[in-house]
Amino acid sequence: MSRLLALIALFLPALALAQAEEPKYYVFEPSGAVSTLGIIYTLLMMGSFLYVGWLSKRRVASSDDYFAAGRSFGGLSNGLAMSSNYMSLATFLGFTALLWKMQYYVVALVMSFTGGFVLISIALAPALRRWGKYTSMQFIGERFGQTAKVVAVICMIFLAQLYLIGQMKGVGNVFQVMFHWDYTTGLVVGGLVVTAYVTIGGMYGLSYNQTLQAIIMLIALYVPATIILLKLGAGPASFFPPFGYGELVPQMNEVMASYFNPFLTVNGTVPMSFKFYFGVFFSIACGTMGLPHIAMRYFTAPSIRDAKMSTLWGTFFIGLVFFTTFAIGFAAKLYTVNELNAQGLQIQPKEADLLIVVMSQALTPGWIAAMPVAGALAAGFSTIAGLLMVIGTGLGSDIYSTINPNAADQSKIKMGYIFTALGGLATIGLALNPPDFLLTSVIWAFIVAASTFTPVLILGIWWKGANKPGAIAGLLVGGILSGILFFSKGKLGDFTLIDAGPIVHLVTGIFTMSAAWFTIVVISLLTGGEKNEKILREIDRIHGWQNYDPKRYSSNTFALVTAAFALALMVWSAIPDPTYAKKPEAPAAAATAPAADTATKAAADTAEAVKAATDTAADTATKAAADTAEAVKAATDTAADTATKAAADTAEAVKAATDTAADTATKAAADTAEAVKAATDTAAEAPAAETPTTQPASGQQ
């Protein structure tokens, strides 16, 4: 402990100097070769997509062809299409940036994405495929009635727009940064191309293009990643980037000891707790299960087995891309610390999104460095296209056939054309002036899906007791709750459910999904359950039965037990968690104090907080770790640009302060992290009987 205090005291002057100087930021400028080749790749790619869409039009003869690609996509090709449909611009560029900012923390999110993708195939896809329609909304309509379908389509449009605007904006930004196009021009060109090929080619065009886009994404990520790792000295393992950077781990531990610590992020501002990880499952994995554009791909498979095999292939390709982005994120972190920070430069959040291109430009030949640009656009296009197809099918087929039940097949196809095109144009329009909440909008799309589609689909397939009033009430409760929490940033009137930053909003998924589930079960039971024998027979059929037995899938005990569990989860998620407790504002005097004083005080607060965490015994290692992280956060909140941030942010802030103190300060930061870890261990080993004083003695709580 005394070692930690001595180190902090020793480097206070350097830390104070860091605050006194304006930080210099790295500004990415694409080289001529990357920009030119990037434009060539992009134009070739967009031309190919349009050509494939136009060729696919010839295959569209019926609504089955337009909305479900003739149910002819199975195995490998559908697996590739599924993976590119699922992985968006946010995956391709965003994961690297998230890793750069949050490190280990992102692993939890990504594993949940993978899990959710597989869970659809287990719990929902076989039954949906046997039902034989085009979308989840159609299933809801036939299972629970037309009103439920209309509510489901409204929920779908809401979540699709949350998802789409971010993707469209990303496409516009890539054009702007890489090719120096005006944002609006890039957005309109990219948006029109994707809208055109989906509208023209329907599900056939979408499927062929998504298969092609998956291949482009894999090559555009894998090849640069391999070369980057080789250049950084990762050795032969570089040829399999997902696990190709083991050789570089000691180097990372040297410059940033906190990188592989699951309880800390770069600046310690995102608190960790068991509840958070629970929220990840409910929001991400359960949200994935409910995403209509993911479920829609299962309708294109020729058989149930093909649908499952597609998932198998999709899981492999998704993992390959996800964990290759991990390798690039790791390499980017090492590169920024070793190269850019050494030059006194820091990375801005905006530049962090482009780290893969930054790394490629610095370490690979121009013709390879331009690949990630094309890969990122392919990723954006594939997800936008999938969502536009859902909108086109939802309005063109689902809603139109409700209004006009006797509509001819060709009329449905025409409506599909019209609504897909209108969906694309509307999204371009919305993305012209994107709202502020874009950073979190994709996360909220998952929460909305988890709170609306997922409970209705699971209960609709696996419980005969679920009925129309229950489904409508559940959709409304889940949709309205998640909508209110989205716009109010986690508040229900005066009651704050969650107030701890955008990522921690994932915890709200526990509350909203449980509320929807509980509502469906209770309302269905109160209104007597499903009585329509035609529907009950269909439920047996979609599970593969040739005959009907009213006792199958009808256990009210199952429903009641899950409803009780959902109620318990709602209460648990709403109980204020000390990990997320909002800290009071720092005294005004502290905010205006000279930089050196502020740094000194904050460092002292940090030391006190760490000391408190050490001296007081926690019941468990979990509690001790949470307390330590909270203490670090408290000090950070007190003075935004203080020594605490510098200590947690390891080498970056310290190196920016002064060249002379750089090496030593980096070591100090690493030692600090080690000392914090040691404090955690000490606390974990302390007798449980001792009083657990949970508040850090920083005086800021």
Partner: protein
């Protein structure tokens, strides 16, 4: 075993297989509590990586693929049994089998 019993067994198998697969996949891809339960894993390395980091990715991706393949084989057999046992079988009356 008569046909009604076969259908009952197949029904139970389908529910059990789905539930077990759901739980297994969920656990394999959400082993984060490991960080809280076994913090010492962070100090052990596998192929250069901290053990908990490496295990999280390997179990949640590479091990998941063969596990899911096994699920596909089992669920196909259950589906086949459901189809075979219920083909041509009469509907059950309310209160009848199973």
């Amino acid at each position: 075993m008569n046909n009604a019993e076969r259908m009952h067994v197949a029904y139970k198998s389908q529910c059990r297989t789905t539930l077990i697969a759901f739980v297994v996949v969920t656990l394999m891809t959400h082993i984060f509590p490991m960080y809280f339960l076994f913090p010492e894993l962070n100090k052990v390395t596998i192929f250069g990586f901290p053990a908990d980091y490496w295990l999280t990715i390997v179990i949640g991706w590479l091990v998941l693929i063969p596990v899911f393949w096994i699920y596909i084989q089992i669920s196909e057999k259950v589906d086949q049994e459901i189809n075979d046992s219920s083909s041509g079988a009469a509907d059950s009356a309310p209160g009848g089998n199973p």
